[in-house]
């Protein structure tokens, strides 16, 4: 029976409330996902559970990066199930996104910030285009962006002294 003023809740809601308690007892993401798999109504339940994790008062977990990461992963897992997607494929997409972030971070810290132009050859594609310099039709972009890379070891261009 629902609370006064609230629509009556059915078995699915009871299931979600039960799963919320269960999830809080989970010690790992794998365990939580396993519970998610074995329950009917797992999608809605997991969404409730992951939302609980980042609410104030949920065991002081707010702001914990591991918990937030777990929440994000679980939400994506739930979305994948809702959409009928393959979890492994989604997981690979997440990995690629993280790897891409690492490449950009390396470019910014080592090439832009650190002046290590050798790294540019590793993190920039052969057809790299810097749109901020006017795009591929811009003389400036051709000079500084298009192949051969002007900072390439083989280009003989200016390097940091």
């Amino acid at each position: 029976m629902g609370a006064p003023g609230q629509p009556e809740r059915g078995p699915a809601d009871k299931c979600r409330r039960t799963q919320t308690k269960e999830f809080r007892a989970c010690s790992s993401q794998d365990e939580a996902l396993a519970r998610c798999d074995t329950r009917s109504g797992a999608v809605a339940g997991a969404r409730d559970r992951t939302s609980d994790l980042v609410q104030p008062g949920a065991g002081g977990l707010r702001g914990d990066h591991d918990v937030i990461r777990r929440q994000r992963t679980l939400q994506l897992a739930c979305n994948a199930r809702l959409l009928g997607s393959d979890w492994a494929r989604l997981s690979r997409a997440l990995d690629v996104a993280e790897e891409n972030k690492a490449v950009v971070r390396r470019f910014m810290s080592e090439v832009v910030g650190g002046g290590n132009l050798d790294v540019a050859d590793e993190v920039l594609a052969p057809n790299y285009v810097n749109l901020a310099m006017g795009g591929p039709t811009s003389p400036a972009s051709r000079r500084w962006s298009l192949p051969p890379l002007p900072w390439s070891k083989n280009s003989g261009s200016t390097t940091r002294s």
């Binding site: 997409a93 690629v96 996104a97 993280e98 790897e99 891409n100 972030k101 490449v103 950009v104 971070r105 470019f107 910014m108 810290s109 090439v111 832009v112 910030g113 002046g115 132009l117 540019a120 590793e122 993190v123 920039l124 594609a125 057809n127 790299y128 285009v129 810097n130 749109l131 901020a132 310099m133 003389p139 400036a140 051709r142 000079r143 500084w144 962006s145 002007p150 900072w151 261009s157 200016t158 390097t159 940091r160 002294s161």
Partner: protein, 83 residues
């Protein structure tokens, strides 16, 4: 741009970066600080869009505020073919 600025600045630094990735796109927010040989310093806030292909950056579109080119431009030689 990296080559050109690297050659003429005394120091350049990227701080407070934050990255968000989705598929083959990465968005970055950071502060970019350059120090010229005379010791003067300019810091710009920046937003960048990077599109990657095969694990490397293929497109880089970055917007600065203020634009460091206003500081560096007068110091740069015009590229070949530029009017």
């Amino acid at each position: 741009m990296v080559t050109a600025t690297t050659a003429m600045v005394k120091e350049q630094r990227v701080d407070d970066e934050e990255l968000v990735a989705e598929g083959d796109a990465v968005f970055a927010r950071f502060n970019y600080t350059i120090t010229l040989p005379d010791g003067s310093t300019t810091t710009a806030r920046a937003l960048a869009y990077c599109r990657l292909a095969d694990g490397r950056i293929a497109v880089n579109d970055v917007m600065f505020d203020p634009d460091p080119m206003k500081v560096l431009g007068p110091l740069m030689a015009p590229p070949p073919g530029a009017v």
